[in-house]
Structures are given as structure tokens and as C-alpha cells.
């Protein structure tokens, strides 16, 4: 009984264990089957997928070639720099954790950068303003593209009301964009400072833009300091995804001397990419390319050949094996034909000379009435205003938190005055019987005119809609009506675009529109720098802002170095304000380029006349291209573009003026070769050329030169002699024909290559030979327009008796190992055969005479001087209200010319100034004077000599 019971229990157990075993077998069977399916059936496929996932193609960037001068002095090279990058390569269990980790990692990096004075790369279209508000810094299609990217739309036209954010994203404000990024998008803690939130958002956004491409890191900061590198590398293990990457940045030594030639590099723009990739498919959107100058022109040589690599990467993107490697080839090195030492000496001498001119022209007066171009002086009050007008003193800094005592003093006075003037302006604009324009006080007239110009510049006043023949418009132009009348008329004629005004409704009458317009103008002008400058102008005039206060601001803003002694003297009155500024200008602590008064610029070209090589090609003022290459210093760029001395404009190759008397050798060659004169022909100068009505005068008028031969006429720069040659070329004594005369002058100017560009590799303006008034064209006036480099080619041909070269800035190109790739030699464009040897001799004698008779060159004509110099001065008049242009072209040694010099100082008063400069350049070139005695860092002494144009 008991036994059978136990037996049955046992059976049950066995059965239950059996069920368990059966369950095991079934389940394990399923697992085995699954193994088989994965490994045997699909194993190969999985392996293939894996391989595809981990192979990465990489392009290896090449090292950009260097740029050297003709003697191998390095001008442009690459320097090792460190960038800090971040990559989203962490694994997180939640989005919150991910945001928190990345944001705090970036914050740590930001604070490290801040401590060491490094800045993040910021190309973001939203700016954080000083007062903590946001604004867009992009407009138009760039802004639309930006908004579409931010909210994840493929195009702007798809945008509209977005449920997730609860507003129309197409019309999102900068604040909404930032709230979106800091909020739902990247969840940046509100506990962070606003500037940190802003910067974190920029970096997170850049990361998200890179996110879809695997293994691409985002650059936080470029070219950071060693301190930042050390601080970040120390904590790399807890900074997820952060890396320090080695990179090269472009450096320019001797920057300001060569910026006008070399240009600079930068990240390729979309348009550049489109153009360049048409010629060469190796360009990519992340490349650095030459943006201007030699960097741009020689880019294809300099950039080198990119390499490529096929690698296997692990899950963090680290390379574990290289499959294929094509090394990058470094770019070629470019050697310029320029001699760096000479270039720098010419630049410094040019600056000293210009400073000397400005220095000699400043008078201790408030205003100066001049009767002609040659006696224009610079009242010291113009210097005061120039400090503000050309942004030597920063108005932003004056109103900012870090303003000094004098800055605050001036700014407070300004603010008061601004309110008062705006009130007056408003009063004038709302008066029932306002004053007509021409009866206004000078300052109010300036403010009103500025208001109109301002409205046009921002598109409120549509200048294109104006009918210039309109009666009211003409009255306004002639100052016969009041601004109120003009603006009301403009509203009625729909010259005012009311959609740009802050108005509630479209259906308002014109009186209401006018009220809105007036409020709008006053509100806008309150924050406008241009208007502020005009206020300052009259405050300076009325001694409400004094020169000595401005001097103190120069110290406070560190424009000039702090100097207790001078400040004490200035404050006590022992040093007059006038003397203070003269001293600073003399010592070049305030440069003529900073003041941007006349003159503020100049140029100089030196050539080897035997080979046609360019030895110097100087444009003053220069700029620091280091700050434009690599990452653009936007503030510096803006300063340069607004600088009244126009540093981006190459005065040697782009600026054109009339050549003045430097042209007379062309006329001489034309006269003797065409047979209208011979070298012995004697022409009498009575001070006036009387063969035409209202005859032009010689520069010596009321004096005269008397009887002159060709050499004498060149030596004395006698205008009457060359008027006569122009007259004879025009067949004047038989039947005067302007076209015959001008054609002959053009023919000889063309022979000297003045009709075309010189062929250099950088931007060059097209020259213009005069096409009217052969008589004045004969003395280099009329409408001649040449560049300094064009005149350099011309004087080179005069010196070598007729060889006209095609210029090049390049001497040779080598590959990175120094093997010659290409040799550049100036080709002979033309050999002028038309002019006989004796005629050349007469012209040269004239040139020698020029220098012999000038004090500028007296050191070359002492008893034991071995080198004689020859040349021709030129003073050209273009505007009567501004000084004349000063030019000089010359060559040396006279017996066997080796080199030529062409210099020009626009608005440089008189050719004596350029002759002085050329004399110094000759001395420097032939080592006749210790360079230290020439390049003194002080404004040059300019004699009191003045002469009128045509000398």
C-alpha cells in the first residue's frame, strides 16, 4: 500500500522532471537554431555590413607654400597652431544626461579660454549685445537659410507656424531662436551666465550641423594660447569628446609693408568654391584659399596637392588600420621679385615724408581760408576732429563701461548736446513756418542734410523714386525750401517707403505719416555714429570738446603710450595743445594714415631698369593681413573698410592721377621724333602761351623762362615750351587740329606702354591717356590718368632708352624641396626704335638738369659724388579745394642707369616733397647714407618751398 503510493509519487516526480527537461530541450533548440541562422546563414552579410560601416575616406590637407622676397626673406609662412575641438562621441542613457554632460564640458572649456584670453570661433548669425539682448547680424537670404537650418527645414519656403515651439518660425526673432536653442533643443541650464549660454548654444548648434557626418569634430576655438592647451589637456579624460588638434595658420612677417601685394588667405566662400571647382575639382568647402593678392593669384601653386587615406576606424572614430595612403604634397614656394629691405625702407620713408607734409601744414587756427590749392593749410581743429572722424578715438569705448575719466567727461557733454540738437531738429521739423534750408545755421544745415542722406541709406527715402527734374526737388537742392516742406512733399509723392516705418495701420493720413517719420528720424539718429561725429564736429568748433581733452582720451584709449611728463605739461598748460599734436605727428605716434587728412597716402615703385624687375611696389598705408587670414577678425575688417585712408586700396597699382610734368618726356619724344622740334629748337617763354584764347600760363607766371631748348625746358619744366610742342603736334601754325595733336601724343604715350596695364599679378587699374586738349595734355594735365606702377614702367623705358617691359611681381617658383619649377622674367613688351640716340641724350640731359637744380638732390652733385641722378618732377592739379598731387620719376646712376624710382603722394602739395623722398630712396639704394639716418621714425623735414602745378 505504502510502496505503491511512493511509487506513484515517484512517477509523478519523474514526469514533472521530464517536463522540465523537455522545456529545456525545446528552448535550447530554438537558441541553437537561431545561432545557426545568424552565424552560418547570414554571417558573411553581417561581416560585410560591419566593414562598410568602419571604412572611412579621409582627405589629407597639404601644407601651403611659403612666399619669399627675391633674396629668400620669408614673408608668408605657416605656423603650428592648436585648435580645441569637440565631438559628440559619448554614450548616454538619456537625452538629459547627454545635454548636461556636453553643456558642462563646453562650459569648462569656455572658462578655460576666458582665463587665457582666447576666443571661440563665432560665425553665428545671432549676436549677443552688450545689454544682454540678441539680434540678427545677417539679413536677406542668408538669414532665411539660417532660420531654416535652425528649425530643421530644408527650405525657407517650407517654414510657417510650428506647433512644437508655438510660433511662426519663418518670422522668429533672434530672442526666439536663442530661447529655442537654449531650451528644448539643447537644454542649457539657466544657471549659466547669459554669455555662456549664448556661446554654448553656438557650439552645440555647430556640433549638430556636423552631426550627420560621422566622426567630424567641431572646432570650438582656433589658434589658442599655450596656457589654454595646457589647461585643457590636463583634464582631457573628463572632457568627453574634446580634443586638441594641431593645425597650421598663415603668418605674415613684415605685414603692413607687403599686405597690398601678398593679400591674405581665408576659408573658401561658397561663390569662390563654385568658381574654383570649375577649374580644379580638388577644392572642398572646408579649404583655405588665397583671398586676394599673390595669395589668390598664385593659389594653384601655393596650395599643393591634397593626399587621401582609406582607414578603418573604431566606434569612437579612432583609426585602427590604414588601408591606402596617398601622401599630400606641400605647395610650391613663391619668390617675389621684390627686395624686402628696399620695400620696407621705401614704405617707412614714404610715411615719414607724408607725415612731414602734414606736420608742416598744420596751423594753430580754428579755420583756414585758402585761395588756391598750393596754399591750403590744416587748421589744428581739423586734427582734433580727425581723431573722431577717422575712428582713432573709439566712440563705443567712450560710452562703454570701461571708459576713463576724460572719456566720460566728453561723452556726458556729448549726450547733453545730442539731446539738445535732436530737440532743435525736431522743433525745426515740426515748426509751422520752418526756416528754408539756406538760411539755417551751419550746424543745423549739416544735421538736416545728414538726416536726409541717412534716410536714403537705410531705404526709408527711396532715392531712385525721386524725379530729378521735379521742381520741389530742385528747390530743395538749391536750399530754397525747408526740410519739412521737402519731406511732406516726399511723403505725398511716395518717395518715402512707409512700409519701413513703425506704423500700426496702413490707412493713415500724410500728417500722421509725417509725425511718425519725424519720431523715427530722431530715434534713429540718436544711436547713429555718423550723426554723432557731426555733433562732435561742431562741439569741437565751439570749444565744447577741447583738443587737450581729446589728447587725454588718446592716452585713456591707449592710442599713444602713457607718458606722465607730457600729461603733466599738457595739463599745466606749459605744453600747448597745438605743440602736443605736432609732436605726436612728428614722432609718428599719430600717423598721417590715422588722421586721414590731406595727404594720408602715397606710393612708390622701384625697378631694375636693365632687367625690368620690380624691386619695390609700396602702397601706404598698409594693414595687418595676419588679422584677416585664418579666422577673420570682423571688427578689424570693418575698421579697415571704414578707414578714410583706404588701406585696402593699392595706391601703387590702383590709384590713378594725372601725371603732371612727369609726362613731359613723352611730349619731348613726340616733338623731336615727329620733327616739329629738334633738340636745338629755341622757344621763348613769356609766362603765358598766347597762341590760343585765354592761353594757359607757365607755372612761373608772372615770371617767365625766356628762350629755352628742349633740355632747358625739361630742366625748368617750362610749360610754355611744351604747350608750343603740343600746339605744333596739333599742326597749330597751319590749321590747328585737336584730334591730330591728341593722336600724336597718344601714339608716343602708347609707345611707352602708358595705354595698358603693366602685367603684374595683382589688381591694377586700367590707365587712361588723355583724349582731349593736346596743349594741356602735353604737360601731363588734361584727362591723363596713370597708376604709379605705370609711371614706373614709363620711367624705366626712359632710363634704358626705350625698353618697355611687361612687369611681374614673381621672380621664381620652387617646389617644397627647393627645385626650380618656374622662372619668371619680365618680357620685353616693346623696344622703342623711333627715337634717335641724340634725342635720347637731350631728354636725359634735361632729366639730369632737373635733379642738378634741386636741393633735394644736392648730395648727388657735390664735387666727389660718383652717382648722379636724373628725373622729372610733377605736380598735378585735380581739385582746387584740395592740395595738388605730388609726383617724381627718376633714375640713377645717370651715366649707366641701373634703377628707377616712381613716387606719388596724392594731395602731397608739391613735387619738392616727392623729390625729397626720391632723393632719400636713391641714397638708401646706393648706400650713400647710413639707413639709420634716413629711416628715423620721425616726420621728414619739408622745406617751405611751394610750387603750383605744372612745374
Amino acid at each position: 500500500m505504502l510502496g505503491s503510493l511512493l511509487e506513484s509519487i515517484r512517477e509523478i516526480f519523474i514526469t514533472r522532471l521530464g517536463i522540465l527537461v523537455a522545456v529545456y530541450l525545446v528552448l535550447f533548440g530554438v537558441v541553437f537554431g537561431h545561432f545557426f541562422r545568424l552565424q552560418i546563414v547570414s554571417g558573411e552579410e553581417y561581416q560585410k555590413n560591419y566593414t562598410v560601416r568602419t571604412i572611412k575616406e579621409k582627405s589629407l590637407s597639404s601644407t601651403r607654400g611659403n612666399i619669399y622676397d627675391r633674396n629668400g626673406v620669408v614673408l608668408a609662412y605657416n605656423e603650428l597652431a592648436y585648435n580645441i575641438t569637440i565631438e559628440d562621441n559619448g554614450t548616454y542613457s538619456s537625452t538629459d544626461e547627454k545635454n548636461e554632460t556636453i553643456n558642462s564640458t563646453i562650459l569648462y572649456v569656455l572658462h578655460t579660454l576666458d582665463r587665457n584670453g582666447d576666443e571661440i570661433d563665432n560665425g553665428f548669425s545671432v549676436s549677443l549685445n552688450a545689454d544682454g539682448t540678441y539680434s540678427f547680424n545677417a539679413t536677406g537670404s542668408k538669414l532665411q537659410r539660417f532660420l531654416a537650418d535652425i528649425y530643421g527645414y530644408s527650405s525657407y519656403s517650407d517654414m510657417g507656424y510650428n506647433k512644437k515651439v508655438g510660433y511662426n518660425t519663418a518670422r522668429a526673432t533672434a530672442t526666439q531662436v536663442m530661447d529655442y536653442l537654449c531650451g528644448i533643443k539643447f537644454d542649457i541650464s539657466e544657471e549659466y551666465a547669459i554669455e555662456d549660454r549664448y556661446r554654448i548654444a553656438i557650439i552645440r548648434y555647430a556640433m549638430s550641423q556636423n552631426g550627420y557626418k560621422k566622426y567630424i569634430e567641431t572646432t570650438i576655438a582656433t589658434d589658442v594660447s599655450e596656457e589654454s592647451v595646457a589647461a585643457v589637456s590636463e583634464h582631457l579624460n573628463r572632457l568627453q569628446g574634446v580634443e586638441i588638434v594641431e593645425d597650421t595658420i598663415r603668418r605674415y612677417d613684415h605685414a603692413r609693408y607687403f599686405a597690398s601685394i601678398i593679400g591674405y588667405t581665408g576659408k573658401i566662400s561658397e561663390t569662390e568654391y563654385e568658381t574654383l571647382s570649375k577649374e580644379n575639382d580638388s577644392y572642398s568647402l572646408t579649404d583655405v584659399v588665397g583671398k586676394s593678392g599673390i595669395e589668390q593669384y598664385m593659389d594653384s601653386y601655393l596650395k599643393g596637392q591634397k593626399g587621401s587615406e582609406r582607414v578603418i576606424v573604431d566606434n569612437l572614430g579612432k583609426e585602427i588600420e590604414t588601408l591606402e595612403l596617398t601622401e599630400a604634397t606641400a605647395g610650391d614656394n613663391v619668390y617675389l621679385s621684390i627686395d624686402a629691405e628696399l620695400q620696407e625702407a621705401c614704405y617707412d620713408l614714404l610715411e615719414q615724408e607724408i607725415a612731414g607734409i602734414v606736420y608742416s601744414k598744420i596751423v594753430d587756427e580754428k579755420e583756414y581760408e585758402s585761395s588756391s590749392s598750393s596754399d591750403i593749410m590744416i587748421p589744428i581743429y581739423d586734427v582734433y576732429f580727425a581723431l573722431i572722424n577717422n575712428n582713432i578715438i573709439s566712440l563705443d569705448h567712450m560710452s562703454g563701461e570701461n571708459a576713463g575719466t576724460y572719456e566720460k567727461k566728453i561723452y556726458n557733454a556729448f549726450s547733453e548736446r545730442l539731446e539738445q540738437e535732436l530737440f532743435n531738429l525736431r522743433l525745426e521739423l515740426t515748426a509751422d513756418s520752418p526756416d528754408i534750408y539756406s538760411e539755417l545755421d551751419e550746424d543745423m544745415a549739416v544735421y538736416e542734410l545728414y538726416a536726409v542722406t541717412y534716410l536714403q541709406s537705410i531705404g526709408v527715402f527711396d532715392a531712385n523714386a525721386v524725379d530729378v527734374s521735379d521742381e520741389t526737388y530742385t528747390s530743395w537742392k538749391n536750399g530754397e525750401i525747408a526740410l519739412r516742406q521737402y519731406l511732406e512733399y516726399a511723403i505725398n509723392n511716395r518717395w518715402i517707403d512707409i512700409t519701413t516705418l513703425p506704423m500700426d495701420s496702413k490707412y493713415v493720413d500724410s500728417a500722421e505719416i509725417y509725425d511718425v517719420l519725424v519720431s523715427y528720424i530722431t530715434a534713429q539718429l540718436r544711436t547713429d555714429n555718423g550723426f554723432a561725429k557731426r555733433i562732435y564736429k561742431y562741439m569741437i568748433k565751439q570749444d565744447l570738446v577741447t583738443g587737450s581733452d581729446l589728447a587725454m582720451v588718446l592716452y585713456e584709449q591707449e592710442v599713444i603710450d602713457y607718458d606722465d611728463e607730457t600729461i603733466a605739461e599738457l595739463k599745466s598748460g606749459r605744453l600747448s595743445c597745438y605743440d602736443f599734436y605736432l609732436d605726436k605727428i612728428k614722432n609718428l605716434e599719430i600717423t598721417p594714415a590715422q588722421l586721414a587728412l590731406d595727404p594720408c597716402s602715397g606710393s612708390c615703385v622701384v625697378t631694375d631698369v636693365k632687367t625690368g624687375e620690380l624691386l619695390a611696389c609700396v602702397s601706404y598705408p598698409g594693414y595687418d593681413n595676419n588679422r584677416l587670414a585664418n579666422t577673420v577678425d570682423a571688427a578689424y575688417y570693418a575698421r579697415l573698410t571704414n578707414d578714410l585712408s583706404a588701406p585696402f586700396y593699392n595706391n601703387a597699382t590702383q590709384e590713378k592721377t594725372a601725371p603732371g610734368s612727369t609726362f613731359k618726356m613723352v611730349t619731348a619724344a613726340a616733338g623731336v621724333t615727329e620733327g616739329v622740334i629738334s633738340t636745338d629748337t629755341e622757344i621763348r617763354c613769356d609766362g603765358v602761351f598766347s597762341k590760343v584764347n585765354d592761353g594757359p600760363k607757365c607755372w612761373k607766371y608772372p615770371g617767365s623762362h625766356g628762350i629755352e631748348t628742349l633740355s632747358d625746358a625739361i630742366r625748368d619744366s617750362c610749360n610754355v615750351y611744351f604747350y608750343e610742342v603740343g600746339w605744333r603736334l596739333s599742326n597749330g601754325d597751319e590749321s590747328y587740329s585737336e584730334s591730330v595733336g591728341i593722336e600724336k601724343i597718344r601714339k608716343y604715350a602708347t609707345l611707352f606702354g602708358l595705354n595698358e596695364k603693366t602685367g603684374i599679378e595683382i589688381n591694377e587699374s586700367e590707365p587712361e591717356i588723355a583724349d582731349e586738349y593736346p596743349i594741356t595734355a602735353a604737360i601731363g594735365q588734361s584727362n591723363h590718368n596713370y597708376t604709379t606702377i605705370g609711371l614706373g614702367r614709363y620711367i624705366t623705358a626712359v632710363a634704358n632708352e626705350g625698353t618697355v617691359y611687361k612687369f611681374t611681381l614673381i621672380d621664381h617658383i620652387t617646389d617644397s624641396n627647393g627645385t626650380l619649377v618656374d622662372k619668371y622674367t619680365p618680357n620685353v613688351l616693346r623696344q622703342i626704335k623711333e627715337i634717335s640716340d641724340s634725342d635720347w641724350a637731350a631728354i636725359h640731359d634735361g632729366n639730369l638738369g632737373v635733379c642738378e637744380s634741386m636741393t633735394s638732390f644736392k648730395d648727388f652733385f657735390t664735387e666727389d659724388s660718383k652717382i648722379h641722378v636724373a628725373g622729372k618732377t610733377g605736380t598735378a592739379q585735380q581739385i582746387k579745394t584740395r592740395p595738388n598731387h605730388a609726383l617724381f620719376v627718376g633714375y640713377a646712376p645717370f651715366d649707366d642707369p641701373q634703377m628707377s624710382v616712381a613716387v606719388r603722394i596724392a594731395y602731397g602739395y608739391t613735387s619738392h616733397n616727392t623729390a625729397d623722398l626720391a632723393g632719400d630712396i636713391f641714397k638708401y639704394y646706393f648706400k650713400l647714407e647710413d639707413p639709420e639716418n634716413l629711416i628715423t621714425g620721425q616726420a621728414a623735414y619739408t622745406g617751405a618751398g611751394s610750387n603750383s602745378f605744372g612745374d
Binding site: L6, I12, F13, I14, R16, L17, I19, L20, V21, Y24, L27, F28, V30, V31, F32, H34, F35, F36, L38, Q39, I40, S42, G43, E44, E45, Y46, Q47, N49, Y50, T51, T54, T91, Y92, S93, S94, I312, V313, D314, N315, L316, I320, E321
Partner: protein, 367 residues
């Protein structure tokens, strides 16, 4: 109570199986993370000593103290919740006397011993409501404590408990009723889980990621990579300790390669053959335990054998299913193979008890 054991009753076949699988495990750990290989060898030594010692102690003597184990276990589990150490987003470890270990691993063995004793004592009244309710409550307590941080251990432990209950003689009527209720409620449970109402955070996401990998790329990635590694081993594998760039493991794509995902490494480097051998060895260990259970002297011995068998079998099944994508991603070590001293030593200890059950086997004719 001293007992006389006969050396011929010592189940050397089981010992050899255990040693074999542990050695394979150590070899694979060496490939996954060489730095911990020696620790695992040390753990194996410790386990062997523990197994031999425990195998010589009468399991009935051990079972006497079952309530002490139970209470101590509950206290440990509570202390994990309070002072536990977090690793990989789960709080499962505790530091006692300078040693870091995982109480949930220990808990499985404790429950086997406890219920082996408990059901043996109440075997006559097993199918009464009272005993069933008490055992349910006693089982539920540790399960709930483990649930929050360790869903997979909870599932394994529950499966062990059900096995024990079934083997102890739960009436088929109740089995059928339970099945009738649990299958539909399981389905409902899954539905609720997917609505996100029951499970939280990573547990829910892992289930959703398993079902919809495209929508949860980050969470699905771990399993996708593991499957890729496992499958790419094909028949013979890429070889242990290989340095090839074609290896998913060398590319760093396998997370937790030495612990929960060691099967991905084994599959990749030893291929189908190696993976099958490992799983087969584990199945044989589970079957050997069942065999000992069949021959056990009494119900408690039988339950110990079956409990350990179930532990090995179910944990193996869940682990390899996760690695190969048959189940959602849950963290659970592969018995004897994954790196982890707590798991290894407790398993060896449990096997020691099973060996003792084998030593006291029912002799034919004595029954």
C-alpha cells in the same frame, strides 16, 4: 549528524563539465579584457575550494538555517537599495568588508535553498491556499526588492521559483489555472509596458528599442552591434586574441564585452562551433543537475538539484537570447562564463550543495 560518503557517488562528470565551461570562459574573458582574466582565475580557485567544502557538508544541515539565510538576504537586498554602488546605470553592487559584490546573484541560491527546505517541510499541505499564499509572499519579497534595479534577475528568480513550485508537486489543476491567467495577463502586461506606464527609464526604452530598433537607434545600437559581432564569427570564428581590423570587438563596438555580452565575443571569435559548445556545456550542466535531482534521497535534495538546474538553464537562455536579439536588452551574466566573482563563487557553492545531494543519492533497494 555525520554521514559516510562514498567517493564513487561523487559526480565527477558534473565537476568536469563545470571546470571545462569555466576554463573556456576564462579564455574568452582574456580576449575581451585581459586585465581581469587573473581575477576570474582567482575566482575559479575560490569557487573550487568553496564547492569542495560545501559538497562535503550535509545539505540537510545547511537547510536547517534557511530562515537565517532568507532574512540575511532580504537585509542585503534592502541595503543595496540604500547604499548600493552604481555601475552602468544600475545599482546592483554593495561593498561589505572592502569586497564589492552583487547580492542579487547570491539571492538566487538563497531562494533555492530556502524553498527547498520550506516546500519539503510543507510538502503535504503544498496545495493548500495557506501555504501557497505564504510561499508566494516569501518569494515576492526578494523579487520586488530586486525588480527596480535588475529586471532580468527578477525574471530568472521568478522562473526558478515557479520551477521549484512545480517540481514540489503543485497540482496540475492550479498549473492550468495559473497558465490560463498568466498568459493573457502577460500579454496585457506587455501592452501596458509598451504604453510606458509600468516600467521606467532605461527598462522601457530597452524593450521599445528591441521591438523598434529604427526609432531608438542609441538604445538598439548595443544589441545591434552585439548581433553583428556574434554573427560575423560564422562557422569557426575569427580566433581568440586576434588583432584583425575586421573584428567588431577590436573596433570597440561591443559594450560590456567581458560580462553580459561575453557571448558576442565568443560568437565572433570562436564561431558557431564555439558558441554551440558553450551553450551545450551549460545545457549538460543543467541536465546533470536534473539527473542528480531524479536520484535525490528526498524532496529537498530534488528541489535543490532542480533549482540549480533551472538557474543555469534559464539564465543561459535569457543571456544568449539578449546577445543574439531574441529578447530585449537586459543585463544578466552568462553562468560560469561571464566575468564576475560573486556570480562565479555563488554558482560553484550552489554546485557544491548539488554534489552533496548526489553523494546522498537514493540507493536502489533502500527506498
Amino acid at each position: 549528524m555525520k554521514k559516510k560518503y562514498s567517493i564513487k557517488d561523487y559526480d565527477f562528470r558534473l565537476v568536469i563539465l563545470i571546470l571545462a565551461i569555466t576554463v573556456i570562459g576564462i579564455a574568452v574573458i582574456g580576449s575581451a579584457d585581459a586585465s581581469v582574466q587573473n581575477k576570474q582565475i582567482f575566482g575559479m580557485g575560490l569557487g573550487i575550494v568553496s564547492m569542495i567544502v560545501v559538497s562535503l557538508i550535509d545539505y540537510n544541515f545547511i537547510l536547517k538555517f534557511r530562515w537565517i539565510y532568507y532574512v540575511a538576504d532580504i537585509m542585503l537586498l534592502i541595503s543595496v537599495l540604500l547604499w548600493g554602488v552604481e555601475r552602468n546605470y544600475a545599482k546592483r553592487w554593495i561593498v561589505l568588508f572592502g569586497i564589492q559584490f552583487q547580492p542579487s546573484e547570491l539571492s538566487k541560491i538563497v531562494l533555492i535553498l530556502f524553498f527547498a527546505g520550506f516546500f519539503y517541510k510543507h510538502k503535504e499541505k503544498l496545495n493548500t491556499t495557506k501555504i501557497l499564499l505564504i510561499s508566494m509572499v516569501l518569494a515576492a519579497l526578494p523579487l520586488v526588492l530586486v525588480l527596480k534595479e535588475d529586471l532580468s534577475t527578477t525574471i530568472t528568480t521568478a522562473l526558478i521559483f515557479i520551477t521549484l513550485l512545480f517540481i514540489a508537486g503543485l497540482s496540475y489543476k492550479i498549473v492550468l489555472i495559473v497558465l490560463g491567467i498568466s498568459i493573457p495577463s502577460f500579454a496585457v502586461g506587455i501592452y501596458v509596458i509598451l504604453q510606458g506606464k509600468l516600467l521606467q527609464g532605461y527598462q522601457l526604452r530597452r524593450i521599445q528599442a528591441w521591438l523598434y530598433p529604427e526609432e531608438y537607434p542609441d538604445d538598439a545600437l548595443q544589441q545591434q552591434n552585439s548581433i553583428m559581432a556574434f554573427a560575423s564569427g560564422r562557422l569557426w570564428g575569427k580566433g581568440l586574441y586576434n588583432e584583425g581590423a575586421d573584428s567588431v570587438k577590436n573596433g570597440g563596438f561591443i559594450s560590456e564585452p567581458r560580462t553580459d555580452f561575453i557571448m558576442a565575443v565568443a560568437g565572433e571569435e570562436l564561431g558557431f562551433v564555439g558558441a554551440a559548445v558553450i551553450v551545450l556545456l551549460l545545457l549538460l550542466i543543467a541536465l546533470e543537475c536534473t539527473l542528480i535531482a531524479i536520484r535525490a534521497n528526498d524532496l529537498s535534495g530534488r528541489l535543490i538539484g532542480c533549482g540549480m538546474s533551472a538557474l543555469i538553464a534559464f539564465q543561459t537562455l535569457i543571456n544568449v537570447s539578449v546577445v543574439t536579439g531574441l529578447l530585449p536588452n537586459t543585463g544578466l551574466p552568462l553562468p560560469f562564463v561571464s566575468y564576475g566573482l560573486t556570480s562565479l563563487v555563488t554558482l560553484y557553492t550552489g554546485m557544491g550543495i548539488v554534489l552533496n545531494v548526489g553523494l546522498q543519492r537514493k540507493k536502489p533497494g533502500r527506498g
